[in-house]
Amino acid sequence: MMIPESELKNIERLRWQCRRGMLELDVLLEAFLDQHYEMLSPRLQRHFLQLLEFPDPVIHSWCVGGENPDDEEFVELVDSIRATSVA
């Protein structure tokens, strides 16, 4: 999936994509967007947009449930989402 550069900068659209069906993901993804997203490399920003397309239980299993994505490409991103400060 090729994501155009302009989509990476569309923070307000991404903010709405962080609205999910699970409270845990709402809190974690929005905090990640505010705290870390803009400092990510374009490669990781693309991965974040791709991650948002996954079903909620899958994102939950990676970011909260302690499982690792099969695709190595996502592991670095998921690690930094887990490390986001929301407490």
Binding site: N10, W16, G21, L25, P55, G66
Partner: protein, 586 residues
């Protein structure tokens, strides 16, 4: 610029299990169906439901719908309507089979039949041995159902308006609903959707409380639209709280933690549940534990700098036990509470989980606009799921009955709408004045200048609801709460957006949600203040007993004048004998 309009046979607001199951019936019958959802449909809150769906399939243990009905009536603390409950328990069986045929990957037994697990509150033979009634798709039942229904709707050519926010219902002079004014979140442009029939399936409203397990989208939008259309909400005082949510955040910490030996302590390290429930202690019923926690905090024994929570201690348990028997709890606590439960206790507070009340409907999902026991429904308007009140949960909901409610009544509303549209094939003329009113409400947010921010008023409102209309409900503090929420409603006029852009303006969407939450919050606070008894999830230490002589009735709340009326519980089932009220003992 002229307002864009589109016409459909049916407009469905909300794309969770209720909305999508209704849409599928309609699209399969070749009706032109619009589904409006503020988030992508498979991100609706149904996705968070892990438990399962109750249906008396008798695949694991003997069962029948009549036993399921008994458990549901008892669980409702006798406030549920027994005709609707009978209907739901009978229809549960074909509803689950229909889902199976549509492709929901239910977990299976070795013999190929659908696996069923045992849940609390389920019995065989009217209160006898434990039953096994809950059908599940591993621990992702809500997701599996939502995903299947969405795919089936795409096949059936349901028209989806994804990321559109429903602002207000449009009605004519006779009060008939003609559709809704919605807002395209991506562009900020309004769109008028005209429809011969409208179904509200907008889900719950847990976000009205500071601490909730509900997703951010659960702001009671459909309930608030109903209030602004001059229609009532029913039994809004009945809100289910889970005793242990992560303090200040709301994420559930499962009862299993206390089942494995975890216990609650206050700021002095005292194991306080020994005072409130000397036998069951930390495993007392949910409402007892929740009320005990709030009592500790109110009496100054809370923990933390604000003394606003208690601690759940598990660090006396072996690390291997925590890893094996409580998977996920350690990660969740680390991320959301900033503590490793192997080393430190978890800060917890009761979290708002599920609202039993909602838009009053009959068992076909048709909205009932009056308190008249023999009153008729409002033609063409339907509601289903957590936004509605059929009323099958009464004063308390059983586990496994919420997915069932949304699926059964979504399906039945869909089937009823098909017949209605056959008999009423034309659109009614629009009432332009009403459209202007709705557009004016949207336009009000264009006003610029200094004012209160959305986030500040939301914070004040949600804290007020938690303190004055949450778990702990006594007369004087609830009276104070109603006055405070009314004052907050007045302050809405002084709220200004900090962002006036058009595209994906979350500030504006959250302002519209805040209006909805405040309208719904007042219905909860007002209804709770006036119910002077304890029943199900509504617990009043100043009126500790259930009072069937005075209060075996449904509350109806109207926004105009914060008016309350009451109507009788429908205790007569359809084909079987009524279950008379008894003391509810488990």
């Amino acid at each position: 610029m002229a307002l864009e309009k589109q016409r459909f046979d049916t407009l469905i607001l909300g794309a969770g299990g209720a909305g999508l199951n209704a849409a599928l019936q309609l699209a399969n019958a070749n009706l032109k169906v619009a589904v409006v959802s503020k988030v992508f449909p498979t991100r609706s809150h149904t996705v968070a439901a892990q438990g399962g769906v109750n249906a008396a399939l008798a695949n694991v243990l003997p069962d029948n719908w009549h036993w399921h009905m008994f458990d549901t009536v008892k669980g409702s603390d006798y406030l549920g309507d027994q005709d609707a409950i009978e209907y739901m328990c009978r229809e549960a069986i074909p509803t689950v089979y229909e889902l199976e045929h549509n492709g929901v990957p239910f977990s299976r037994l070795d013999n190929g039949k659908i696996y069923q697990r045992a849940f609390g509150g389920q019995s065989q033979n009217f209160g006898g041995d434990q039953a096994a009634r809950t059908c599940a798709a591993a621990d992702r039942t809500g997701h599996a159902i939502l995903h299947t229904l969405y795919q089936q709707n795409i096949r059936a050519k349901t028209h989806f308006f994804d990321e559109y926010f429903a602002a207000d219902l449009i009605q004519d002079q006779e009060g008939i609903i003609l559709g809704a004014l919605v807002l395209d979140i991506a562009t900020g442009k309004p769109l008028l959707i005209e429809a011969k029939t409208t179904l509200l399936a907008t889900g719950g409203c847990g976000q009205v409380f500071r601490t909730t397990s509900n997703a951010h989208i659960n702001t009671g939008d459909g309930k608030a639209m109903i209030l602004r259309a001059g229609l009532p909400l029913m039994d809004m005082e009945f809100f289910q709280f889970h005793p242990t949510g992560i303090a200040g955040k709301g994420m559930l910490i499962t009862e299993g933690v206390r089942g494995e030996g975890g216990y609650l302590i206050n700021k002095d390290g005292e194991r306080f549940m020994e005072k409130y429930a000397p036998n069951a202690k930390d495993l007392a019923s949910r409402d007892v534990v929740a009320r005990s926690i709030v009592t500790e905090v109110r009496e100054g024994r809370g923990c933390g700098p604000e003394a606003d929570h208690v601690m759940l201690k598990v660090n006396h348990l072996d690390e291997a036990v925590i890893a094996k028997r409580l998977p996920g709890i350690r990660e969740s606590s680390k991320i959301f509470a900033g503590v490793d439960p192997v080393k430190d206790p978890i800060p917890v507070f009761p979290t708002a989980h599920y609202v039993m009340g909602g838009i009053p409907t009959d068992r076909f999902g048709r909205v009932m606009p009056t308190s008249d026991d023999d009153g008729d429904h409002l033609p063409g308007l339907y509601a289903a799921g957590e936004c509605a009140c059929a009323s099958v949960h009464g004063a308390n909901r059983l586990g496994g009955n919420s997915l069932l409610d949304i699926l059964v009544f979504g399906r039945l509303a869909g089937k009823n709408i098909i017949d209605y549209v056959k008999d009423n094939p034309s659109h009614r003329p629009l009432d332009e004045a009403n459209v202007e009113w709705a557009m004016g409400r949207l336009g009000r947010w264009d006003t610029k200048g200094e004012g209160i921010t959305v986030s500040d008023l939301r914070k004040e409102f949600r804290k007020t609801m938690e303190d004055h209309a949450g778990v702990f409900r006594v007369e004087d503090m609830m009276q104070e709460g109603v006055e405070k929420v009314r004052a907050i409603r007045e302050k809405l006029a002084d709220v200004r957006l900090t962002d006036h852009s058009s595209t994906f303006n979350t500030n504006r969407t959250e302002a519209l949600e805040l209006e909805n939450m405040i309208d719904v919050g007042l219905s909860i606070a007002t209804s709770a203040l006036h119910r002077k008894e304890s029943r199900g999830a509504h617990s009043r230490p100043d009126y500790p007993k259930r009072d069937d002589a005075k209060w075996m009735k449904h509350t109806l709340y109207w926004q105009e004048g914060d008016k309350l009326e009451y109507k009788g519980v429908r205790s007569q089932p359809l084909t079987v004998e009524s279950f008379p009220p008894k003391e509810r003992v488990y």
